[in-house]
Structures are given as structure tokens and as C-alpha cells.
């Protein structure tokens, strides 16, 4: 999983590793079961080294246990999150990453998930147009046309899921 996902989950409020893990579990449900439990802590450690996150000061005179550390975003981390939210994932859209992007954006109030969906859809439709044009230019029974049909079908599947995302996030906006 990408570092940006962890960063964006932290954008909601300063949090401990297990809290991020809980947010991830809620967003992914059974699909998150395969994730290594220690992954978040490793990622947080890396992000700390690159200056994207920093530790909250521990209460005076006490040292912090590793799993009680509270992290927050640094300005550089925040900037990276904004950048990531506005990136359109292509050429191989990662469903889980996109899903978590919408959730993190909404939780932290950083961007409207529906406009993230719109941007992604624009990109996918452009590709669908390209694939479709290419398919229509192929002669009947061409081998390439068959493969292009596969591309078209994949893009359509992704676009249908984006429609579901759109409906869902519009619904949530209307009933907060």
C-alpha cells in the first residue's frame, strides 16, 4: 500500500498507529485482512524520516511506547496529501487506492470526493474513446480488435464502479 494512503488517513487528526489501522480496517473490510499488521508502523517510521510526519511531544518526564506514539502531518506531508488527492491514477487505476483517497479526502474535509470522481472519470472516458476508436478502425476479425475489446470492457467496468462511487458520495453529502 502506498505511503500516501497512510499520510492521507492522518490528515483527519493527529493519531496513533492503531487508530490509522482501525480507519483502514473500516474502509477495506474483509479486503484489508491480508495486510500486514506492522505495515502502518513501518510506513509511519519511513514517513517520519522523510519529514512528512512528526511525533507529538510526549507528556513531560515520560518516554513514549512505540505503539503509543501520536503522529501528525508536517507542512510537507500536508502538501503531499493535497498533491496526491488531485492526481488522477493512470495507466492502471488502483481500486483500493482510489477508494481510500475518497474516504481520506472526506474524513479530513480536504476535498469533495465527488469532484475527485469526476476528474478520474474524465480521464477514463478519454481512454475509452481512444480504445473504442482504435477498435472501430480495426478490420473485422482482427486479432488486435479482440484485445482492444478487452481494454474497452475493463474501462467500462471501472467507469461503472465510478458511477457507484458517485452515487454513494452524493448520497452521503445529502445525508451527513
Amino acid at each position: 500500500m502506498q505511503q500516501e494512503v497512510v499520510l492521507a488517513l492522518l490528515a483527519k487528526e493527529p493519531s496513533q498507529g492503531y487508530q490509522l489501522r482501525a480507519r483502514l480496517d473500516e474502509a477495506l473490510g474483509p479486503l484489508g485482512e491480508g495486510l500486514n499488521a506492522g505495515h502502518i508502523y513501518v510506513t509511519l517510521g519511513r514517513l517520519e524520516k522523510t519529514g512528512m510526519v512528526a511525533l507529538e511531544e510526549p507528556p513531560q518526564g515520560r518516554t513514549q511506547l512505540a505503539d503509543r506514539k501520536i503522529y501528525h502531518l508536517t507542512p510537507a506531508g500536508q502538501e503531499r496529501v493535497f498533491q496526491w488527492l488531485s492526481e488522477v491514477s493512470w495507466p492502471r487505476p488502483d481500486l483500493a487506492e482510489f477508494h481510500l483517497k475518497l474516504i481520506a479526502a472526506a474524513q479530513a474535509g480536504l476535498a469533495d470526493p465527488v469532484s475527485i470522481v469526476d476528474a478520474q472519470r474524465r480521464e477514463m472516458l478519454r481512454r475509452l474513446r481512444d480504445a473504442q476508436r482504435a477498435a472501430m478502425e480495426e478490420p473485422d476479425h482482427s486479432d488486435a480488435a479482440l484485445l482492444l475489446e478487452g481494454v474497452v470492457l475493463r474501462l467500462q467496468a471501472d467507469l461503472r464502479w465510478l458511477e457507484a462511487c458517485e452515487r454513494n458520495w452524493i448520497g452521503r453529502r445529502e445525508r451527513p
Binding site: R122, R126, R127, R129, D130, A134, L148, R154
Partner: protein, 247 residues
């Protein structure tokens, strides 16, 4: 494109149903310019008002507020009779349900609006034959709609929409009742119409149809919320989606 006079222009277009607490704004302040030769797709979830919008644009319903100009002439103030004439001659309609006359053959369906517009039977028949050829149904002219597949029926309906050389063709979910291969047939036809310079407005929730447009407008709750000009990307990128190339 922008310097050319739009074929169709709508401004401040609204359509409301009901009143008071039950007031529904089916179309809520739409602004639209369609340039000559342009294909515009309007997409949105069902109930977003896109079909109502198309009916307003085609003069099938009157707006509650706002203006529509067709080739620079306002449509709003004109009489029912003049509006009916305009619908028959300047606008071609294509619907999801085809709406062919069951008891007429393919060629009779196509030529009918030509006859209604006052063309001679010979001229209408000649043009209808040409159009059926153009849509790939030269060998089906004498068939009744019941003997045609869904895709063929829709192609007859498209030929019919073109009989009076309309300024604009308005299509409402044209592939809504078609399977995948019939959809491709209709898409190819729209592409060739586009290449011949026909102006088209298509309302659809089918992405493949929308992807053929020059401009794609998303509609929600009666209003336009997003607009994309569909300039092509690079085909090389497409391979990456299925594991070719890339890192």
C-alpha cells in the same frame, strides 16, 4: 469553433413540474451552445433531467423559463403549428424505443417524415433508399420492424431521423435497448454521421456512447456540473492498462 454561430443555443433553461413543496426542478438553469458539426453527449444518472432537457431542446415540451435558439432563431414564442413544422424539418429524433410504425416497412418508416414535410413520393423514396444503404440496411428495405433485430430497428430509426436533412439530431439513450454488438453498429453510424458534419446531441448513461462525443457534459439534479472536451490521449498508454509496456 467558438466563432461559428451555434446550431442550437439554450440559456437559462428551466422546466419545473408540480408546485409548492412538491415542486420538482427537472431542468434547472441549463446553458448550452452546440456548434455546427459538434457531437455533444449529456450524461447523468436516471432522473437527473437529461431526457426532459432533450425534449425541451427538440420542442417536444415547452420550458418553464429560458430561451432556445435554433440556428439563431428563437423557438420560444412560436406557435404550436410552427413548432411542429420545425420538429419535422429541422430536428431529427432518435429514441431508446425506436418508435417505428409496426405496420410499415423499413423504407416506408424512413420516408414518412419526408412525405409529411411535403416532398414528392419519388424524392422521399429515393432519399429513404439512400439512407437505408448508408446505415447498412440496403437489403432490408421491405422488411417490417418485427422482422428486424433491435440494432437494425434503431438504424432504421436513425435513417428516418435524417430524411429531412435536419440541422441537428437529438438522440435519447439510443443504445439503451441494444446488446453490445448492436451498440457498436450504432456507434459506428454516429461516427460516420459526425464525420459527414452532422450536428448531434446524445443523452445517455452508456459510457461507450458518451466516449464518442467531442464534448461530454455531466448532469445532476437538473443542472450541468461538469464538462469535458474529449481530446484524444495517447494510444500507447492503453497497453499499460492490460500489462503491456510501462515499468
Amino acid at each position: 469553433m467558438t466563432s461559428m454561430r451555434p446550431v442550437l443555443r439554450a440559456s437559462g433553461l428551466c422546466k419545473t413540474f408540480g408546485s409548492g413543496a412538491a415542486l420538482v426542478r427537472a431542468v434547472d438553469g441549463v446553458e448550452l451552445d452546440v456548434a455546427p458539426g459538434e457531437t455533444v453527449a449529456i450524461m447523468g444518472p436516471s432522473g437527473c433531467g437529461k431526457s426532459t432537457l432533450l425534449h425541451l431542446l427538440g420542442g417536444l415540451e415547452r420550458p418553464s423559463a429560458g430561451e432556445i435558439d435554433l440556428a439563431g432563431d428563437p423557438v420560444n414564442g412560436i406557435s404550436e403549428r410552427a413548432l411542429a413544422h420545425l420538429r419535422r424539418t429541422a430536428i431529427g429524433f432518435v429514441f431508446q424505443g425506436f418508435y417505428l410504425m409496426d405496420e410499415l416497412t423499413a423504407i416506408e418508416n424512413v420516408e414518412l417524415p419526408g412525405l409529411l414535410a411535403g416532398n414528392s413520393p419519388i424524392a422521399a423514396r429515393t432519399r429513404a433508399r439512400e439512407l437505408l444503404e448508408q446505415v447498412g440496411l440496403a437489403d432490408r428495405t421491405g422488411f417490417l420492424p418485427s422482422a428486424l433485430s433491435g440494432g437494425q430497428r434503431q438504424r432504421v430509426a436513425i435513417a428516418r431521423a435524417l430524411i429531412n436533412q435536419p440541422m441537428i439530431v437529438l438522440a435519447d439513450e439510443p443504445t439503451g435497448n441494444l446488446d453490445s454488438s448492436a451498440t457498436v453498429g450504432v456507434l459506428r453510424l454516429f461516427e460516420s454521421l459526425h464525420e459527414s458534419g452532422q450536428t448531434l446531441v446524445i443523452v445517455t448513461h452508456e459510457q461507450r456512447v458518451a466516449a464518442t462525443a467531442d464534448r461530454l457534459i455531466s448532469m445532476r439534479d437538473g443542472a450541468f456540473v461538469d464538462e469535458t472536451r474529449m481530446t484524444g490521449g495517447s494510444r500507447g498508454d492503453l497497453g499499460k492498462l492490460i500489462g503491456l509496456g510501462g515499468e
